[in-house]
Symmetry: C2
Subunit: 349 residues, 2 copies
């Protein structure tokens, strides 16, 4: 049933009659029912309360008619479940109890394990969600090793990830230990979601665009490959996505290939037109890449842009429509619904 869903068909390289669409951050602050459901719970409490996480995951499917649910969670949730001191500060983002930069701090961190027991709130939430979703597939996700390490080394969100990028050159051994640990955490988080019922997964390397290709290849790609090798055996499609990654798209595709992922998909940031991306990673299904800034630009500009994205997406073997980055919190849900309808009304041939 789920294998024949438009999402999974497109992710496996097919062109279903309707272009499937979902939105990064579709479950969250742009929906009034989300704010109501959250009430006074913190972000991490909400992620770790199975009934609530399931409800929030289902909300955009009900309201928007998207072709996939994306599991409501956060890339730092597996760190929290492994015992790392992390909170999500409203208006700021993930804040660690300390930056992890010294060999001793990294050694200590890497002794933390993500156990099956600790993952129970996740697997339970996924099961509840999948039960209610019926024919709509659930997409699981995790943060990629570099993006997790960037938060751990910086201790908080950062613009240019200077401390993380320094560490990889200043102490490559500690860096590799940290990235391998983060890779194993990401792999366990993804595996738990798939085993509980997710039909596909996305590995977010949100901040990897701050790296040169040479640094990516030497200091990051091996750990991303390690994370995805564990997931490849599960057979589900895997999307790999980052922002500012035009110069890294081919290397990210190589990570999927090296990991043995049978149905790789490259997620494309709004900056790179899909036809250009299709030339960079030929033969790979693409996901993306409506510019989130267009969501508030009025329907004439937005609808023309969506049609342009769909047209360019035809240069790829298959296309999963999405934004080129997450839904901005201020987005009008009615506009998202209208975008979904436009995509579904546009013939996919």
């Amino acid at each position: 049933m789920l294998e024949s869903s438009p999402l999974v068909r497109a992710m496996r390289g097919d062109r279903p009659p309707v272009t499937p669409v979902w939105f990064m951050r579709q479950a969250g602050r742009s929906l009034p029912e989300y704010n109501q459901a959250r009430g006074n719970t913190t972000m991490l409490e909400a992620c770790l309360t199975p009934e609530l996480a399931a409800e929030i995951t289902l909300q955009p499917v009900r309201r928007l008619g998207v072709d996939a649910a994306v599991f409501f969670s956060d890339i730092v949730v597996p760190l929290k479940l492994a015992g790392v001191g992390v909170e999500i500060a409203p208006g700021i983002g993930p804040v660690m109890d300390q930056p992890y930069r010294t060999p001793a701090d990294i050694d200590h961190l890497c002794r933390a394990e993500l156990t099956d027991d600790a993952l129970t709130p996740i697997t339970e939430a996924v099961r509840l969600t999948v039960n209610d979703l019926g024919a709509t597939p659930l997409l699981g996700f995790a943060g990629a090793p570099f993006t997790l390490a960037a938060y751990l080394v910086e201790g908080k969100p950062s613009k240019d990830h200077l401390a993380a990028r320094t560490l990889m050159h200043a102490d490559p051994d500690s860096w590799r230990r940290l990235l391998n640990w983060a890779a194993d955490i990401a792999a366990r988080f993804l595996t738990a979601q798939v085993q509980a019922g997710a039909s596909a997964v996305q590995l977010f390397d949100s901040w990897v665009g701050s790296l040169s290709l040479a640094d990516y290849a030497a200091y990051v790609a091996p750990a991303s490959t390690r994370a995805l090798t564990a997931v490849a055996a599960l057979g589900v499609p895997v999307v790999h996505f980052g922002t500012n990654t035009e110069h890294l798209l081919a290397a990210m595709r190589d990570v999927l290939t090296a990991a043995g992922v049978t149905s790789p998909i490259i997620g494309v940031d709004y900056r790179t037109p899909l036809d250009a991306a299709a030339s960079i990673v030929p033969g790979v299904p693409l996901q993306g890449n409506i510019d989130p800034a267009m969501l508030a630009a009025g329907w004439p500009a937005l609808s023309a842009h969506v049609r342009d994205v769909l047209t360019r997406g035809r240069q790829a073997p298959a296309h999963v429509a999405n934004l080129g980055h997450g839904v901005p919190p201020s987005t009008d849900p009615d506009v998202l619904k209208r975008v979904v309808d436009l995509i579904h009304e546009t013939p996919n041939d």
Copy 2:
């Protein structure tokens, strides 16, 4: 005298015996004498006190032996001098008295003029600086129209410049009016610095990498061209720089060409190796692009990286060594000095 300086020679496409080097943000928080000179003055007060701005501009030349001074100022200074309500909040950056997004607010803003009288603190500071610099050239600078508009529309620093990028599509007329106004402000600021003695200028389009090439070409390039057309007539070399701009380098070169700049230089972010940049914009002198993250990575890694940058820089007709972004505040000045010495000791052939 200044035309034969290594900086101006390289900027004009020549290869002087020594590769000239300066650092973006070399005048500022990384130097103890800067913090001492600033005392309790605010950033904008310091920029608008000629003796202090001149002293801060000279400090890195004395300490580091760089081949250029870069005028100590801020890209929002000309906005302030035109009467726009802006402050630089410590730890945050430029904060406007309001966001400028509606047609009425933009109309009102665009009535503000940057007069010669208002520019007196700038021209006086430049004259004082040039008097003391002797054979070392002074580089003036301004923020490019998009980067100025990004601050004005957002009202504060922003990660993805969503409101600015929405406005260009939602209300292209207001956007063009805003960008043309910002272009004229930037042009007047640059012109004042050159007329007071700056030997070259840099137009910083720091945040332009958040745009796709199509948006850049349609909504930004004409205004950048307008700003530089006014400057081209002065005959000084012009560097154009932004971060995350690999996909825009050729279009930024086209702006310099369209403006009639006789000695154009492209500044390259640390992500794009200089030999790759030289292929994208052949025949143009390049500036950059030591990774600021390497400054704290230890001398073996840093010196190997600097040598690699110099080697790759030989693929361009001429090379002005610099960082690929600004000096991080935590940088050890002794490391900067060692980098300058290494660059000066490396034959430029």
